[in-house]
């Protein structure tokens, strides 16, 4: 009897111990409720005249988002869905922590949608500034990175948007839709990091500008050379660059047509770049693009119902895109002397011996190489109608 009782008691103690363990082991050491952190959605990095870091964060207020997007007004009174704070510091991480002197709760960075760099910072120290964002465990490597042109990151982050309660989400969505236009580029943090590491390719980062009281525009590219901003590409050059980099989802390309204009919807595009060698020396930069398009609109006259018409249009389309690519390439070669296309990477891969001796002056070699840009366009379909309205008898 006593033995049985003792066994039972032992079992009870064990059970109690295990249950206590369950309580203790269920959470993290530094577990925090959503209400105990500040959910950062946008980060702006700037540099002051004195070389200090000016950090701006946009913090979302989960509670107020729910009440504004939900039915009716919450009785609590209107709280703003986001707040924006700036802080000056010696280093980025330093500024993040020092900011807590003015901000209530610890900043949580995994939710950051956009990282906006100022022009000044980009011109001075891209590589140095991004070290923290590579190193910190909270940072999402897939966040969008943008460079603000003619406007400070703080200004952009302080904007309110009509389209989304959280401005940073609005910005990142305009970046996402670049795959339908090609005039911008979605640059994720990891893309920038990879390019910075690579000797054979210089980084580019999407550009953001102000487009009115509460709207932004994400078009164009910021061109870097050895970790420093050297210039910009305009939307058309950007699209040429995107065509060459095989990064076009779809795009509308306008071409001249008989008595008017046509808009071609490019819906598939594949590209390859390479460097041709002659006698162990690079002789020519190659860009090959194959794309498929539909006639999306014909704002002019002229029938389309003959195959010859279509092949003539294909040639015009090819020429238009070829020009855009050439513009981007020429700018990279002549103006910036920066191999943003990654031709150097191709040389490194397929001609490692040459690369070994040429890698340090590659940008110079790249700049004086002639280019052979081949665009092969196929116009597949004309949509629901074939010919535009033509009244002739």
């Amino acid at each position: 009897m006593t033995a049985g009782w003792r066994k039972k008691a032992k079992g009870m103690v064990l059970l109690a111990f295990l249950l206590a363990c369950l309580l203790l082991l269920s959470g993290c050491w530094n577990y925090k409720e959503l209400t105990d952190i500040n959910v950062v959605v946008g980060v702006g990095l700037d540099r002051t005249e004195e070389g200090k870091v000016l950090l701006t964060v946009q913090v979302a207020e989960p509670g107020s988002i729910q009440s504004t997007s939900g039915h009716g007004s919450g009785g609590e009174g209107p709280t703003k869905p986001v707040f924006v704070v700036s802080h000056e510091g010696e280093t980025i991480f330093g500024a993040i922590r020092e900011m807590l002197a003015t901000v209530d709760k610890k900043l949580f960075f995994s939710t950051v949608q956009v990282l906006i760099l100022s022009e000044r910072l980009a011109r001075e120290s891209l590589e140095e500034s991004l070290d923290f964002f590579q190193r910190d465990h909270e940072v999402d490597y897939l966040m969008n990175v943008l460079v603000a042109k003619d406007v400070s990151p703080a200004e952009i982050l302080a904007m309110e948007s009509d389209m989304d309660t959280i401005p940073a989400v609005y910005i990142s969505e305009t970046v996402e839709n670049t795959s339908y236009r090609g005039t911008g580029k979605k640059t994720m943090l990891i893309d920038v990091i990879k390019d910075m590491d690579c000797k054979g390719k210089q980084p580019v980062i999407g550009q953001i500008t102000k487009a009115g009281e509460n709207m932004v525009r994400t078009e164009g590219l910021a061109v870097f050379k050895e970790g420093k901003l050297v210039g910009w590409l305009d939307p058309y050059e950007t699209r040429g660059y995107q065509f060459a980099m095989n990064d076009i989802g779809s795009a509308i390309v306008n071409i001249p047509a008989e008595e008017g204009k046509m808009s071609m919807e490019v819906f598939r595009s594949k590209a390859k770049i390479g460097v041709e060698f002659e006698d162990g020396e690079p002789a020519c930069l190659m860009v090959k693009v194959r794309l498929e398009a539909n006639v999306g609109g014909h704002e002019g006259k002229g029938k389309l119902d003959a195959p010859e018409k279509i092949s003539a249009l294909e040639e015009i389309l090819e020429e238009t895109i070829r020009k855009e690519i050439a513009m981007a390439l020429e700018k990279a070669q002549d103006e910036y002397s920066s191999d943003i296309f990654g031709f150097g990477m191709e040389v490194h891969k397929y001609h490692p011996q040459y690369w070994k001796k040429a890698q340090d002056e590659w940008d110079r070699i790249f700049s004086r190489l002639p280019a052979d840009i081949q665009v092969d366009a196929k116009i597949r379909r004309t949509g629901i109608i074939i010919n535009p309205v033509i009244k002739e008898h």
């Binding site: 465990h137 990879k194 490692p352």
Partner: protein
């Protein structure tokens, strides 16, 4: 008697594979070779498989004998005992290294504010329970858990299938053969040579005739899995960034859009690392119990584990010190344990086999003949 406990060849296979993948899921011993590491892994895999095969042969030449017994048989009681003590040290040290890798990883990526001693200590408590449950439980546990590892690796790999650059392996052998050879050497000592701890476990295998096959298949499959992981990482993050990251597979797992698979990596680490530490602790405790002539190894497990935990925390001040030591010193430090002593024993065993003397032939004498023929 303890020797009655037995594991099947499939359990041994899974234990070996889990042991192998345990740390390599985090750290790549061939990483120094950059984008050529896959060559180093193949070379190292070939050498490592040969080394593991020779451990199996050694075990078959001395059937039902653990490393300690083989050492004492071949080298005499005094020298054998001294070397056995050194092996005990090595097994404990190995366990502590795995503890530390494990702790560093978790404290770098997930539990930044949790003291490492808590992370490692809690893990050690679970492992103490595992090891004390016996080698059969460990075997069955491996059947349950080790298959999770390739599944988790596949999930991560397939999620990343769209973001890749298959030309990232180029150029091949950019910096010549030296880094590759160094990487291959590193791969042989870590993790292949570390399976020397299994010399304490091989006697538990129920079908001795399958030992060599099991060891070789495990070595080859683990190598292939390692290659898969490496190629995935290379294709996804490229040859340049690979050299700069602390834990390469972790960085890769961060790049999966929309969902967070980091826990899968942690799971792999817990399973693989857990098996590795359990095997090391078991080997050390078993060796101690055979040296001292105690019946049950369980008396030593607590001491061994505690020592390993303390050593893990105390031996290195920083993650960089740990990495530098593993890269520069470890390869040479382990040569006697992994190569010299086992090969010496193998040689002595073969010589003795050539001219049998004195001892009564073992029950598995016929198997021994096979081993020599093979």
């Amino acid at each position: 008697m303890m020797e009655k406990t037995q594991i099947s060849w499939i359990q041994l296979f899974l234990l070996l594979s889990g042991f192998h993948i345990g740390s390599t899921v985090l750290l790549s011993p061939s990483a120094g070779a950059g984008r050529d590491a896959w060559l180093a892994m193949i070379l190292g895999g070939a050498g490592g498989t040969l080394l593991m095969w020779s451990y199996a042969v050694l075990s078959m030449l001395n059937p039902s004998k653990t490393l300690v017994e083989i050492l004492r048989d071949r080298l005499g009681k005094i020298a054998g005992t001294i070397l056995s003590f050194l092996y005990v040290w090595y097994f404990i040290h190995l366990a502590s290294l795995v503890f530390r890798d494990f702790g560093e990883f978790l404290c770098t990526t997930t539990y930044l504010e949790t003291p490492m001693v808590v992370v490692i200590g809690l893990f050690a408590v679970v492992l103490l329970y595992t090891v004390n449950s016996g080698i059969e439980v460990l075997g069955r546990l491996s059947e349950l858990l080790v298959p999770v590892i390739p599944v988790a690796i596949s999930i991560i790999s397939f999620s990343l299938f769209t973001i890749n650059d298959f030309t990232a392996v180029l150029p091949i052998l950019e910096n010549g053969l030296m880094p590759v050879l160094k990487g291959a050497f590193g791969a042989i000592t870590f993790p292949y040579g570390e399976t020397v701890a299994f010399l304490m476990l091989f006697p538990h295998l129920n079908r001795k005739d399958k030992l060599k096959k099991t060891v070789v298949i495990s070595a080859v499959l683990s190598t292939l899995l390692g290659l898969l992981v490496f190629f995935r990482d290379l294709f996804v993050i490229g040859g340049d960034l690979i050299g700069r990251s602390t834990f390469i597979p972790h960085l890769t797992s961060l790049l999966i859009p929309e969902f967070n698979v980091e826990p899968l990596l942690d799971i792999n680490l817990l399973i693989g690392g857990g098996i590795k530490i359990s095997v090391c602790v078991y080997a050390a405790a078993k060796a101690l119990c055979q040296i001292t002539g105690v019946q049950d190894y369980r008396g030593f497990t607590r001491a061994v584990l505690t020592f390993a935990v303390v050593l893990a925390i105390w031996a290195y001040d920083s993650v960089l010190e740990l990495f530098a030591w593993t890269q520069k010193v470890y390869g040479f430090y382990v040569i006697p344990f992994q190569v010299l002593i086992p090969l010496l024993l193998l040689l002595l065993s073969l010589i003795r086999k050539g001219k049998p003397q004195g001892e009564v032939p073992d029950k598995e004498g016929n198997n021994n003949a096979e081993a020599v023929n093979a």
